[in-house]
Symmetry: C2
Subunit: 101 residues, 2 copies
DNA sequence: ATATTATTTAGCTTAATTGCTAAATGTTAA
DNA sequence: TTAACATTTAGCAATTAAGCTAAATAATAT
């Protein structure tokens, strides 16, 4: 797969949209501070909303590429894609560190 | 006004929500690369959507604190609050540069 | 005073998001 | 093979977001 600017922009859109919800930002931080990996249940148990609602948040994060998932037995283990997050947002933010000519 | 963690969190929410829309991110970049200040008309003319729609985007950005506005004659001049953007997002992103203990 | 310019506000419609509960799926244990 | 567990999918209701056109406001120019 070669570089596709259109899908890259689309992904930036997905990522910023994913970050727009408090619960999803919280999930990312929780994942990070618990070592980068947690099962769906471990995540769901830490949040006030219902498990299906958390599942949907996880899915939005997964489609954006900010997390990935792995089946382990009957559990699903979600993994933070830390570099995807820091690279995408960091690079966007970098435009504002550049002097406007 | 002393530091208020609740309103600080609320503002983070506003900022991430403001950044979730492509047009609003575009407005911020346009402002930055045109020197940090533009009239509402200059901004609206550069976008495909109707002027009232742009006005609403500008208002969302203003309420979040990412831009500010100044009346100059019959124009309204919008100004990018560059540091608000880089500080808020940069500091949030920094959590992910810290080692999770 | 009146017209023109710059911009916002109001009001409406459609689409998207978020939350819920209940049902379905797939996996391991008895 | 049946029960229990871990999780997702389906489907619904309520809220919010985003777009438009038309009307309102406020400042300058004639």
């Amino acid at each position: 797969m070669t570089y596709d600017p259109a899908s890259d922009l689309e992904n930036t859109e997905q990522i910023f949209s994913a970050l727009a919800h408090q619960s999803r930002r919280h999930i990312l931080l929780t994942l990070h501070f618990r070592g980068g990996q947690m099962s769906a249940g471990d995540i769901a148990n830490r949040f006030a909303c219902s498990w299906p609602t958390t599942t949907r948040h996880l899915n939005i994060l997964r489609v954006s590429g900010l997390i990935s998932v792995d089946k382990v037995g009957r559990e699903r283990v979600y993994k933070l894609e830390r570099e995807k997050l820091t690279k995408t947002i960091g690079e966007w933010l970098d435009w504002f560190e550049r002097k406007p000519e």
